[in-house]
């Protein structure tokens, strides 16, 4: 099972944060043990007994006070030095141009690869071993990109592009999600990062650049026609389909190649695709895709078309 465990870093960026966490964790644990120890000692050693007079009235001790003002100060200086180092390791300055642009929408992600021209949604593919310079944008409200195993989190601010680095040591699937509340379906704005060996990544990139091509059949042709004549085409892009170039909603050119639908709420199977098309507001209430009330036959055709767009 894929996880989003920040304690299992899988890139030099996330490891820089993790290592800092271990060092500070030790400092924190020591502070906790010493102070709690003193409290527990006081509880047992200085419990009042019947008939005892009030103890010696000690109102303070200047030397002790100065000592425990200075010691926390030294701890803070130590943590600050560690912090500054880790900030530079976990978040170096951006590259002149981004390798990847991730744009937040209510409630899904668009991923653009300016180098190759690939545009996809919710499932981000990266090559292993190579740090990618990522620009974060938003088309509406604030969102936040967070894949704990790979890198820091960062807010997608409309009108103010932000930057992070993204890297994975090993091939695998790393998950995360939007962590800044962005509206009704904030919970289902999940992220999948698929890291592949560079050669496999290149292969994926080449496949993504091809125009969307469904299996040839009567049903898919009717499905395509439905896509064009219903309002789908007003929001969704499919490269190779005339007029389908608006990206208000996820790009569907290779939708069937993705693992999940609707930013992580259901697995991407033809049956789920049909359910989604039938009643998106039932599956993801508040998503910006309306219910269309397709007939069963139309649903079959549209499902057939979309689930063969590999």
């Amino acid at each position: 099972m894929h996880t989003s465990n920040a304690l299992d870093p899988q890139s030099p960026l996330a490891r820089a944060i993790y290592d800092l966490g271990i060092v500070s964790g030790v400092v924190f644990a020591l502070i906790f043990i010493i102070v709690t120890g003193a409290i527990i000692y006081a509880i047992f050693r200085f419990r009042a007994r019947e008939g005892e007079p009030d103890p010696k009235q000690i109102a303070g001790n200047r030397k002790v006070e100065i000592a425990w003002t200075v010691i926390p100060f030294l701890i803070v200086v130590f943590l600050l030095v560690m912090t500054l180092g880790a900030m530079n390791r976990a978040d170096p300055p951006p590259a002149p141009s981004p390798d990847l642009v991730v744009t937040g929408h209510q409630f899904w992600w668009q991923a653009d690869y300016p180098g190759s021209g690939v545009i996809t949604a919710n499932e981000i593919h990266i090559p292993t071993g190579k740090p990618l310079s990522v620009r974060l944008e938003s088309k509406d409200v604030l969102h936040e990109f967070w894949v704990p195993k790979l890198t820091r989190k960062m807010t997608n601010v409309p009108g103010q592009p932000n930057h992070i680095w993204l890297q994975a040591d090993k091939p695998g699937i790393y998950i995360g999600q939007c962590s800044e509340f962005c509206g009704t379906q904030h919970a289902w704005m999940r992220i999948v990062v698929v890291a592949d060996e560079p050669s496999k990544f290149e292969e994926w990139q080449r496949a993504q650049l091809l125009p969307g091509q469904a299996a040839a059949s009567d049903a898919t042709a009717k499905g395509l026609a439905l896509f064009q004549t219903s309002t789908c085409i007003n929001c969704h892009a499919i490269r190779g389909v005339a007029g389908a170039d608006l990206r208000v909603a996820p790009d569907l050119t290779h939708v069937a190649s993705r693992k999940q639908l609707a930013a992580g709420i259901i697995e991407n199977t033809p049956a789920n695709m049909r359910l989604w098309l039938k009643n998106p507001q039932h599956i993801k209430p508040g998503a910006l895709m309306p219910d269309f009330e397709f007939t069963d036959e139309q649903l079959d055709q549209l499902t057939e078309y979309l689930s063969t767009l590999r």
């Binding site: 989003s4 102070v35 007994r49 109102a59 900030m87 820091r152 960062m154 800044e180 904030h186």
Partner: protein, 743 residues
């Protein structure tokens, strides 16, 4: 009000039907600080139940993965209302209530400095609470989170009026909080009893006094932000709308410039309670009074400069990130000093484990955890992982519940005998305590780990990832323990009020002045004050063989400053914060010029003429004041009338300026310049108008013949306000009209 009654008399009275109606009205119209304090706390208790039920529903929805119990919109409304309610309608009212009760008693005062203002401040709480909850009937509660981040909170993304009610309610509550803070400061400065010098203040009073200053600096910033948000939503402004040139990041700066001090506004009163209880139950004075007192000031000052640690992931840039990392780490030092001083107070004591002390010990350990995880958010890269995750939720609930609520529960157990004359049940108190300890830790410890496993906050449900299911279930289970604790607490309060053991004046054998009067205290608190020569007057009486060393000078004749003057100057301080925020917002957008109308549209020479009228009115007011002092009625009335006339001319000039701009098609919604210009000058104009109304009232009163030099203090106070409004205009004039000419 004719004749005030004590709570004990009230208790007897409500059993007599004939007297009931009278007493109900008496409580509504009361200006007695003790009754107002009780009203504060009862209101907080009511909303505590409301906010608690909201929390229960939140946790029920999250108990299992992929849950469909609540609709996502309902869930989002619930967590927004839970956060807003608990902060503004529970913690703030309850800590203000405690201070309202105890603080005047501790300094030997008969009441707060401004009893009517005190009542006003309280009534803002239920009024604000009703406004907030009215949204439910008006199209849905706000669903934008308690910090209402723009642009989600803007009309295009939240079209229902929930966010409007949220903003208006917080504005009203903010005004209430500011008026309480003004009252607190004036009370401590002007109404201390004989011998109660500033250096002899009990720590509870000292820390609440310091806290009032944070309120004075922080709340006006929020109110300015709320005004801008409302202007965006209701008048088509663009402060926080990125696609019209506004800045969502500016909202974050404004909100957290209030929001982080707000954490201390809630936490310092908890420190105040603990600093009072731990010494009494350890039978020793606080260890290092000066350090605890000074560290509170350090926290108050630093708290105004740490807000950016809420914004480490918004892209402020490295220099600001580092600045706020340093300031946030520094604030750990005075906080740490406090924890060590409380611990050292226990060491060498004779500790009695009554319920108030139990809550304080749990407070100490839980606050230690909260403080440590707090430092981890100042260690910037750790914040980059844990922010907006359940780790953060766990951290601030350790602050809000583990520290603040525990301290308040200890404080209620401690002072309830003073308020009611009867003890709370120790047995039921111990049940509440242990159920709270168990439930609280069960709910929130595990959430640290959920956050590290990648669970973000504010999700209405979550996929079934490894460990997420059982961790959430455990967290939800704890809520039932806390709910049981709350029910027992309410039962304890209700039954002990009528049947509890009679307390006597000083049941805990404590040392501060509130224990030197009856329980409950009579109207105007004291029959006679004991001699005050140290920080623990009752210790000195009980231990004549070993009294505390005398603190400071023991001079008998000290004239305290006039409370009207202190009050109005504090009010002006808060207004300066409000206008300062509006001015900074203006400059923020002035620095990023855009197309469309700008300062060039303004007619500077004409505005200068009207400005001279306003400035001249400060002079004429001063002449009028001289007239009053010298008891020359004609001179006073004449100069005052001229002042009002000059102020009126200024306003006419402003209305004319607006009219001309409207004629050329420039209104508030045109662009960023017009949004900021009309907001800044409009609020100034509104203040001039209010000042004029106040001056007209004085004119009328003096005309009618109520013309005694004894009124001088109030008239002087109005004068300070009038001069302040002029000073604000100096800044507005320089910024809006003169600055563009220099460029």
């Amino acid at each position: 009000m004719n004749g005030t009654t004590t709570i004990a008399e009230f208790r007897d009275a409500i059993l007599d039907p004939a007297k009931r109606a009278h007493y109900r009205l008496a409580w509504i119209s009361t200006v007695d600080h003790k009754r107002i304090a009780v009203l504060y706390m009862l209101t907080a208790l009511f909303f505590f139940v409301v906010g608690g039920v909201e929390a229960l529903f939140i946790r029920l929805q999250l108990a299992v993965p992929n849950n469909h119990f609540l609709h996502p919109d309902t869930f989002n409304q619930l967590f927004t209302m839970h956060g807003t309610t608990m902060i503004f309608l529970v913690v703030m009212p309850v800590v203000f209530g405690l201070a309202n009760y105890v603080l005047p008693l501790q300094i030997g005062a008969r009441d707060m400095a401004f009893p009517r203002l005190n009542a006003f401040g309280f009534w803002c709480v239920p009024f604000g609470g009703i406004l907030l909850h009215f949204s439910v009937l008006a199209g849905g509660a706000p669903a934008v989170g308690w910090f209402s981040y723009a642009p989600l909170s803007e009309t295009p993304y939240s079209s229902s009026p929930g966010a409007d009610y949220w903003a208006v309610a917080l504005f009203v509550l903010g005004i209430g909080s500011i008026s309480f803070a003004i009252n607190t400061i004036a009370t401590v400065i002007s109404l201390r009893g004989p011998g109660m010098t500033m250096r002899r203040l009990p720590l509870f009073t000292w820390i609440n006094f310091v806290n009032a200053f944070i309120v004075i600096f922080a709340l006006p910033v929020l109110n300015a932000g709320l005004a801008m948000l409302l202007i965006d939503r209701q008048l088509q402004g663009h402060f926080f709308l990125p696609f019209r040139g506004g800045s969502p990041v500016l909202w974050q700066h404004i909100f957290w410039a209030f929001g982080h001090p707000e954490v201390y506004i809630m936490a310092l009163p908890a420190f105040a309670i603990v600093s009072e209880i731990i010494p009494v139950f350890s039978r020793k004075p606080i260890f290092g009074y000066e350090f605890v007192a000074a560290s509170s000031v350090a926290i108050a000052v630093l708290s105004l400069g740490v807000w950016g640690h809420h914004m480490f992931t918004v892209g402020m840039g490295r220099p600001l990130d580092v600045f706020f990392a340093i300031s946030s780490m520094l604030i750990a030092i005075p906080t740490g000093v406090k924890v060590l001083n409380w611990t050292a107070t226990m060491l060498g004591g004779r500790i009695r484990f009554d319920v108030p002390m139990l809550f304080c010990i749990a407070f100490l350990i839980q606050f230690l955890v909260a403080g440590i995880t707090g430092i981890s958010h100042a260690v910037v890269p750790l914040d980059w992982q844990t922010k907006n995750s359940y780790f953060l939720i766990a951290h601030f609930h350790f602050v809000a519940v583990g520290a603040i609520v525990f301290a308040v529960l200890g404080g209620i157990q401690y002072w309830f005998p003073k308020m009611s004359g009867r003890m709370l049940s120790e047995t039921l108190g111990k049940w509440t305590f242990w159920l709270m300890v168990a439930g609280f830790n069960m709910t929130f410890i595990i959430q640290h780990f959920l956050g590290l496993l990648g669970m973000p906050r504010r999700v209405f449900t979550y996929p079934d990832l490894p460990h997420w299911g059982w961790m959430n279930m455990l967290s939800t289970t704890g809520v039932f323990f806390m709910s049981a604790a709350a029910l027992i607490l309410v039962w304890n309060l209700a039954t002990s009020f009528f049947r509890g053991k009679v307390a006597g004046d000083n049941p805990w054998n404590a040392w501060t002045l509130e224990w030197a009067t009856t329980s409950p205290p009579p109207h105007e608190n004291f029959i006679a004050l004991p001699p005050i020569r140290s920080r623990r007057p009752l210790w000195d009486i009980a231990n004549p063989d070993r009294p505390d060393p005398i603190v400071g000078e023991n001079s008998a004749a000290v004239t305290l400053p006039d409370h009207n003057k202190v009050g109005i100057l504090t009010f002006i301080l808060s207004e300066a914060g409000f206008f300062g925020t509006l001015l900074l917002a203006y400059l923020y957008f002035y620095a990023r010029p855009e197309a469309g109308p700008g300062p060039k549209e303004l007619d500077v020479p004409r505005t200068l003429v009207f400005s001279i009228c306003l400035f001249a009115s400060s002079f004429t007011f001063w002449r009028s004041e001289v007239g009053l002092t010298k008891q020359r009625r004609g001179s006073m009335l004449g100069w005052l009338a001229l002042t009002i006339l000059l102020g009126g001319v200024f306003l006419v000039g402003q209305v004319n300026e607006y009219w001309k701009l409207f004629q050329t098609g420039v209104d508030l919604s045109t662009n960023m310049f017009s949004t900021t210009f009309f907001t800044l000058t409009g609020f100034h104009g509104l203040h001039v108008l209010l000042g004029l109304i106040a001056l007209l009232i004085f004119l009328w009163v003096a005309w009618e013949g109520d013309f005694a030099s004894g009124r001088g203090s109030a008239f002087k106070a109005a004068g300070y306000y009038w001069h302040f409004v002029d000073v604000v205009w100096v800044f507005v004039l320089l910024t809006v009209y003169i600055l563009p000419l220099i460029r």
